[in-house]
Amino acid sequence: MTSASGRRIAIAGIATHWGTELARRLARDPRVERIFGLDTIEPDADLERTEFIEVDIRSPVLSRLLPSTEVDTVVHCGIIWYPAPGRPARALHDINVIGSLQLLTACERTETVERVICRGSAAIYGCEPAAPSFFTEEMARSFPLRTRFQRDIGELEAYFENFARRHPELTCCMLRFQPELGADLQSPLAKYLSLPVVPTQLGYDPRLQWIDADDATEALVVATLDPIRGAVNVAPDGSISLTRALRLAGRGELPVPHPVFGPALSRLGGRLGVGSLYGDAVRLLRYGRGVDNRRLREELGFSPRLDAVEVVREFARRSSGLSVAPIPTLGSALSRLVGEPR
């Protein structure tokens, strides 16, 4: 139907960082014929080949607009992980759940659609002290959904699975991303790692997996062009403990008792670029989370370039000149003392 003339792709949430990056890379791909970007505001970046359509994905208008684009692929990049400054966390529910539901309805009305890809979150697994060290895709919901964001993601995934079941002719792919890290990325967790002195929770040292921002975008491109059915974890190989990550990034660590960690982080909220820090970040930085990326590598066919440790090294290397100068740490002072290269 569309193979002769090339792919027609709609990206919901084009103004988000991921939507913009995806469109930028797809524009360079000869297999792609047209790109439509949907959002309430125009993207900051100049996307030459992307046709911008101003629409709120929460509104039913979408169901009339989408069929006219005759797209074969719909990518949902509009899921928001962190509330914007000054906005309550409650507002996310509308965008993440109701918006996604409207988008799926619009896909149903668009006869040309063959593939639906959703940029979801590994938050569905939660952060549990006694969890499997590497969640595989079928282990979602093996623990109660504890936070608001987790429940939203759970609800959204339930709709998505239901949609995929009712439309076996469509390839529906849910990507579960671990948090991203990149020198140019303005995510709260990246900013957290850039604080000169980083508060941590006394007595806890979570195992974490950050995916390199570049790898994350590339995984999204691969999934957009050639999706597989079902859920896929997007994570690097291996894992890294928070303590080691902070040491590699040359940041001082300030352990605080965990009951005051949440409030302390929320006071830094403005600096981290989030309105209110929701429980997910606090739980992630207490218990950590690891996911298995076998399906990403073997079935989707994408291997992240950097592993969990290299992501942090790269981040430390590239961001050292950009952010606040790290205070001299004991480690660097000691290595200088014995004349070791740093």
């Binding site: 499997p132 000691l334 290595s335």
Partner: protein
Amino acid sequence: MSATGTQSRRAEQSAAAVAGIEFLQGIREGIEGGLDPMAAAEGAATALPRSLRESIARMARRLRGDYHEDEWGFDEEFAEAAYPFFEFLYDRWWRVQAVGVERIPAHGRAMLVANHAGALFPFDASMITSAIMKQHPLPRWPRFMVLDWAFSLPFLAPFMRKVGGVPADPYNATRILNSDGLMMVFPEGVKGTGKPFSERYRLQRFGRGGFVEIALRTRSPIVPIAVVGSEEIYPMVGDAGAVARAIGAPFVPLTPTFPWLGPLGLIPLPSRWRIHFCEPIDISAYPAEAAEDRRVVFEISEIVRETIQQALYENLVQRGSAFG
């Protein structure tokens, strides 16, 4: 302590003191010579003894994050640093005798199955690890399953992870075995650690035999291990059930010393230990699909349990009195 030992230690101490004084003098001279304190310290540090410079360099490397952790968060350097403490417990405190360590395969995967005891803090995993590291011809660090509740405790959870503990979950065991590691499991679980003193060395139920299913699926030999001595370190005479429910713990043991003596009650009794590694049970004759067959699973589970129980009785006799 012999006279020569005391003398040599005195000599070491005075050498360290001299090095420290020279270091401080070096800094002062450097600052008087117009250097900034850091540069002065750098100059003075060249006079420090080599071993001290090396340990400073090692510490600096760790503080910069330049060390290895595997994907489970196991930190070999950390485990090695904690090792002398366990070695002390092994050699001096419990005078552990290990028999048949070489029965653990030197290469490839294996599941180590042992009885579980020690109400307040089960030391059996650390002592089995010490036995392997001390006496196996090709030592390697095994991984051990830790009760999920323990993994939610601050300080303890990161510590156990760094020395090789993983949360007790079948997926974790499968993954470790598939990467050809040694996986230590305690099928008795909480029922083993929380049993009263009067029940010591009587093996509890082996769960639903989940460990056998994993061994069958991953085609791993099973090495039964009998640990004698661990069941006397904290004689559990009661259970503060109400407290346990309040803090979400599976049980809160009452021993003759805990909690009556406060932190002193945490000191385990110095019983004499014997760890017996039994002949590995080869299950390669069964196909992997046998894991679905309840009958086979229970049968193997029962063989393992019987082997450990039998070895426990034999080694109890060979060890003799617990505190002799």
